[in-house]
């Protein structure tokens, strides 16, 4: 087995990747004791990040989960397997089985992961593989965001008027800390509001129904979340689907990075963030070294967002 993909990732970041064998100056390598430089292009970064994302959120029933964990491990250890269309095709099939077995309960990013792994498998068979993967990535992200915007702006009755975030900030425990920290709620107000928003059985009515207490800051937070999310998602959709120019390419990556950097600070779906970042890296060419580093850094940042209870720590610090 060749040296691991992760080791290659660590040594080839100067934008000089090639797809052919790399001649290594052994004498020079001996002089500066630097590790040998092996080809590891942006597509490999995208594939590696996808494999890591699969490992970070194990999924599926017993008859798909072991293979969905074992294949990414082997891919990270073996660059040959990382670039195997068959292996990625197998992962796509396993994800499809996982979705069908649990239908309709699978989250949307599992579907996107399935499309993405299929796109990887097909691109690895294509003569212009990197361009094919970049194109599939743009279309998949763009279309996913088009549908997300369609749901929020047109199909849902309770998003644009702010009700979704007004209720979610108060009732979803995953947003409770942010509601207190940014929305200015006390823990007692939060508890009282949750009680007031409990759904009563059909026909039941309280003699004196409690009212929801929304401080102005909380209303502002809900409206900022409503319109901010819609604006960012629209921007991602637009920049992904418009034809590529040098400027649009840069704006496209910046928009996606800003979306992931802000959304996943609050949204408890790190798996979606990792997937989008892996897909974004799949659009890079060998010269975009800074963006390559930015995607890897953002991937790590999303891990930290999920694992560090930053809002809770800030709340405790604020209380002294």
């Amino acid at each position: 087995m060749r040296s691991s993909a992760l080791r290659e990732l660590a040594v080839a970041d100067d934008g000089s990747e090639s797809t052919g064998p790399v001649a290594v100056d052994q004498a020079a390598a001996g002089r500066d004791a630097a590790p040998a430089r092996l080809p590891f292009g942006p597509r490999d970064i995208a594939l590696c990040l996808t494999a890591v994302a699969l490992l970070l959120r194990p999924m599926g029933p017993w008859f798909v989960r072991p293979a969905l964990l074992a294949l990414p491990v082997l891919m990270i250890l073996s660059p040959a397997l990382l670039r195997s269309a068959l292996a990625w095709g197998a992962i796509a099939v396993l994800i499809a089985v996982r979705i069908a077995d649990d239908w309709p309960l699978a989250d949307n990013h599992i579907y996107l992961l399935g499309y993405w792994t299929l796109a990887i498998a097909l691109s690895l068979r294509a003569p212009d593989g990197e361009a094919a993967l970049a194109s599939s990535s743009r279309w998949l992200i763009g279309l996913a965001f088009v549908f997300a915007v369609l749901w929020k702006a047109v199909l849902s009755p309770d998003f644009l008027d702010g009700r979704f975030f007004r209720v979610t900030l108060l009732t979803d425990p995953r947003f409770g800390d942010a509601a207190q920290l940014i929305g200015g709620l006390s823990s007692q107000q939060l508890a009282d509001n949750r009680k007031a928003l409990e759904v009563l059985p059909s026909g039941a009515e309280l003699l004196e129904p409690p009212t929801v207490d929304e401080p102005t800051r909380l209303r502002w937070l809900a409206m900022a979340a409503t319109w901010g999310v819609l604006a960012l998602e629209s921007a991602v959709a637009l920049t992904m689907l418009l034809p590529t120019t040098a400027l649009r390419s840069a704006v496209r990556h910046i928009t996606l990075l800003v979306f992931c950097g802000t959304t996943y600070l609050f949204a408890p779906v790190a798996g979606f963030g990792w997937l989008l970042l892996a897909m974004g890296a799949g659009q890079l060419d060998g010269k975009q070294v800074g963006l390559k580093r930015a995607y890897v850094a953002a991937f790590l940042v999303v891990i930290f967002y999920g694992e560090i209870p930053w809002a809770d720590l800030a709340l405790k610090a604020g209380r002294g």
Binding site: A148, P157, S202
Partner: protein, 132 residues
């Protein structure tokens, strides 16, 4: 070949929208990317269970053993999904030697008032299963 995966996304997401409009599939599930778009999700939709039998008419809490079946039916309350829940309830009641002649399932959703946010439960459809 590069458009195969995006084409699949469009087909699945369009089907999801159609199912949400025809059989009440929740916006959050089914591959249509409607998550974080509406309050119409698992926390605010559910299935009420009532069993009838000789000398009994009783509302049941959802037993742990059929939670997944109920979650599926709440996410997409088709006849098939509701029948699966009813048959599971019937089988469970009979395991405990409790007589059942009919299982009635009511699928409900919660609405929130636009101004006050006051919630109210709204029955959407009722499914009656007569025990064989």
């Amino acid at each position: 070949m590069r458009m195969v995966a995006p084409a699949m996304l469009v087909v699945v997401a369009s089907t999801q929208i159609a199912l949400s409009r025809t059989v009440e599939l929740t916006a959050w599930k089914g591959g249509g990317f409607g998550m974080f778009a509406t309050l119409d999700h698992a926390a605010y939709r559910g299935i009420d269970i009532v069993v009838d039998g000789p000398d009994r008419s009783e509302a049941l809490e959802v037993p742990a053993s059929i939670e997944v079946a109920v979650a599926r039916a709440a996410a997409c309350p088709t006849d098939g999904a509701l029948r699966t829940v009813a048959e599971s309830v019937l089988a469970r009641e009979r395991r405990y030697h409790r007589p059942v002649s009919r299982v009635t399932l009511t699928f409900w959703k919660a609405d929130f008032d636009r101004a006050t946010l006051r919630p109210s439960e709204r029955p959407v459809r009722t499914f009656v299963y007569d025990a064989p």
